[in-house]
C-alpha cells in the first residue's frame, strides 16, 4: 500500500509539472503554426507531439538528447553494451527500421501503424532526401522535418526540433552547449595557421585503408580541427593504398577500428609512418555512439573535445573525464561511474 501511495504521488507531481509547463508554452506554440526545416521546406508544427519516428540513426540520437520519451524506437536495436549508456526504458526500445535514401528498411505501413505525430530526419539535405521527405509526407500525411546534421547546422536543428516537439528549453540548452563547444574549440586554435596544424589520417576498416576524403561527413570532426591528409580530393569514403599513406606521412592517425589499432604498431608496413613512430595512433571511443564519425550526429560533439585534447594538449587543459561526465549527463541523461568512463575512453566494444 505504501509503495502504491508513493508511486501515485510522484506520478501526480510529474503530471502537474508537465501540465503547467505545457500551459505556459502553449500560447507560443499556437503562433508558430509551421517551421522552416534545414532544406527550406515548410513543415507544419503538429498540435501535439507524443510519438516521433526517427528516419535514421542521427535523428534518433538527436531526438533522444532533447526528448527521449518521444522516441518511438531505434533504426537498429541497441546492443546491451550500448544500452548501458542510455536511459534503461528508452535505450531498449524496439527496432523500427529506417527511411532514408539508402534503402528503406521500414515499411511505410509499419510507420503508419506506429502512429507517429512527426517524422524526423537528420543528415544530408540534398535533393534526393528532399524529394523522399516530400513523398513520405504526401503518402502518410505525417509532417516530415529534414534537418542539417553538420556541425554548423546542429544548433539551428536543435531549435527547430524544440519548436516542433514543444520542448524549447532543453533544445535551447543543447543548442547553446553545441555553439559554445564549437566556438571555444575553434576559437582556441584560430591563431594556429592552417599549414601549422597537425596532418591527420583517418583510418577505417581492419587494415586501416578506408578513409574519408575532403568534405566527407566522416571526417568533419577531423577537418574542423586539423588537416585531413586525404582532403586534397573531395568525396566520401574511399580506399587508399599503404604507399599513399606513406607518402602522406601523417603526424596523427585517428581510427575507429579496434583490430587496426591493435595491430598497427606491429605491422612492419606501417612502421615508417610518422604517426606510428611517434605512437600517435588513437582509437576513438564509441559507446554508446561513435565519437568522431558515425552516426554523424551530436554524438560527435564530445569527440571534438577528445580530438582537440589529442592534437593540442597544451591548449586544452580541461579534464576529459569531467567533460565526458557532463556530456553524458546533458545529452544521454545518464550519470557515469568512474569504471564506465574508463570503458568509454578505452574505445573498446
Amino acid at each position: 500500500m505504501t509503495i502504491d501511495h508513493k508511486t501515485h504521488t510522484r506520478l501526480d507531481r510529474r503530471t502537474v509539472v508537465a501540465g503547467l509547463s505545457a500551459s505556459m508554452l502553449l500560447p507560443r506554440h499556437a503562433r508558430a503554426a509551421s517551421v522552416t526545416d534545414g532544406a527550406g521546406r515548410t513543415v507544419a508544427v503538429p498540435a501535439r507531439v507524443e510519438r516521433v519516428f526517427p528516419a535514421g540513426p542521427p535523428a534518433a540520437i538527436m531526438l533522444y538528447t532533447v526528448a527521449p520519451d518521444l522516441l518511438l524506437g531505434w533504426p537498429r536495436a541497441n546492443r546491451p553494451d550500448e544500452r548501458e549508456f542510455l536511459l534503461p526504458d528508452v535505450g531498449g526500445r524496439p527496432e523500427v527500421g529506417r527511411i532514408t535514401g539508402r534503402g528503406n528498411t521500414a515499411n511505410l505501413e509499419v510507420v503508419l501503424a506506429l502512429k507517429p505525430d512527426l517524422i524526423l530526419d537528420i543528415g544530408s539535405v540534398n535533393a534526393t532526401y528532399v524529394s523522399l521527405a516530400d513523398r513520405v509526407t504526401e503518402q502518410t500525411k505525417i509532417p516530415y522535418a529534414l534537418l542539417d546534421g553538420r556541425f554548423d547546422g546542429i544548433a539551428a536543428s536543435y531549435r527547430t526540433i524544440g519548436t516542433l516537439v514543444g520542448r524549447p528549453e532543453p533544445a535551447e540548452a543543447l543548442a547553446r552547449y553545441t555553439e559554445e563547444t564549437i566556438k571555444t574549440i575553434t576559437g582556441r586554435i584560430a591563431a594556429i595557421p592552417r599549414e601549422r596544424r597537425p596532418r591527420v589520417y583517418y583510418a577505417r576498416g581492419p587494415r586501416g585503408l578506408e578513409t574519408g576524403l575532403g568534405g566527407s561527413i566522416n571526417v568533419e570532426t577531423i577537418e574542423l580541427l586539423a588537416n585531413n591528409v586525404a582532403g586534397g580530393t573531395s568525396g566520401g569514403l574511399s580506399n587508399v593504398s599503404i604507399e599513399q599513406v606513406l607518402l602522406w606521412n601523417p603526424d596523427v592517425i585517428i581510427t575507429i577500428d579496434l583490430a587496426f589499432a591493435a595491430n598497427v604498431y606491429n605491422d612492419a608496413a606501417w612502421a615508417p609512418v610518422a604517426a606510428v613512430r611517434a605512437r600517435r595512433v588513437h582509437l576513438s571511443p564509441k559507446l554508446p555512439f561513435g565519437w568522431v564519425d558515425f552516426p554523424p550526429s551530436v554524438n560527435r560533439l564530445i569527440g571534438l573535445w577528445w580530438l582537440a585534447k589529442i592534437l593540442y594538449p597544451e591548449l586544452f587543459p580541461e579534464d576529459l573525464r569531467t567533460l565526458t561526465r557532463d556530456f553524458y549527463r546533458q545529452f544521454y541523461h545518464v550519470t557515469l561511474a568512474d569504471a564506465q568512463i574508463d570503458r568509454v575512453l578505452a574505445g573498446r566494444d
Binding site: R207, N239, S241, E243, Q244
Partner: protein
Amino acid sequence: MRRSALPGFTIALIVLVAGLVVAFTIGRYPVSLAELLDVLWSRALGRAPSAPAAVENVVLLVRGPRVMAALLVGSALAVAGTAFQGLFRNPLVSPDILGASSGAALGAVIGIFFSLGVFGIELLAFAGGLAAVAAVYVIGSMLRSRDPILVLVLAGVVIGALLGAGVGLVKYLADPYNQLPAMTFWLLGSLAATSVSDLLPLLGPVAIGTVVLVALRWRMNVMSLPDEEARALGVSTGPLRIAIVAAATLVTSASVATSGIIGWIGLVVPHLARALVGPDFPKLLPASALLGGGFLLFIDTLARTAAPVEIPLGILTAVIGTPFFIWLLADMQRSWS
C-alpha cells in the same frame, strides 16, 4: 591451323616482364630505379641496402607483396577461365560460371557483417567460393540429363543468382555507416590491402590447382570434344570433369578471397592467349597464365597510381576489358569468316 607457338609465347612473356617492371617502378611513393635495384640486389646478397629504410619498406613490404599478389591473381583467374572455357566448350564462360565468385562474395560480406578480422573475412570468402561450386556440382549431377554440361551451367547460373540475393540481403541489413562501404569496396575488387601475410594463403591453393590443371593438360584437349567422342578415345569424362572443376575452383576462390571480385580477366585473357598460341591446351594454359599475370599487373599499377585514391580493380578491368573484347570479337569474326 598448325603454326609455331614461339612468337606467341615471346609476346606473352614480354607482357609479363614489362608488367613486372612497370608495377615495381611506378607507385605513389617515389622509388627510383636505382633504389629499387639496390634494395632487391642487397636482399638477394643478404646485406643491408644503402637506400633509406622507408624505401626498402615500400619495396619489400608494400609494393612487393602487392605486385606478387597481382601476378598470382591475374594468372590464376586466366588459368581458371581457360580451363572452364575448354570444359564447357564455350567462349563466353568465365571462372565465376559455377558460382565461385558469388559464393566468395557472400562469404566476405557475412565476414564484414560480423566484423571479423581480415583473415576471417578471407577465409569465409574462400570457403564460400568452394561451397557454392560444390553445391552447384551436386545439384547438377543429381539432375539426370542428356547434356550434363548444360545442366551444370544452368545450376551455376541459378545458384549464383540466389547467392547474389544473399549478398543483397546482408548489404541491406548492414550498418550503412560502417559496414556497407566496406562491403561495396570488397565487391569492387582491390589489392590495396595486400600484405606479406596474404601471399602464402594465396600461393598454396593457386599452386595446387594450377599443378593439377597442368597435369591434365593433354586430357583437357579431349574434353573439348563431345562426350561420346571423348569416351571413344578412352577418356572417362566424369572424374576428369570433377578434377578440372575442383582445381579451377580452388584457384578462383583463393584469388577472389584475396582481391575481391575482379571480372573480365578470366573471360578476356584466354581469348587473347588463344589468338597468340592457338587452342592447344598444353600451350594455351601457360600462355594464359603469363598474359593474365601481366594484364593484372598493368591494371593494378593504374589502379594505385592514377589518383591518390584507389580505383577499384573491378571497374578498371571492365572499362579496359569491354572495348578490348569487342575489338577481339570483330577480329575473330574477320579471321573466321
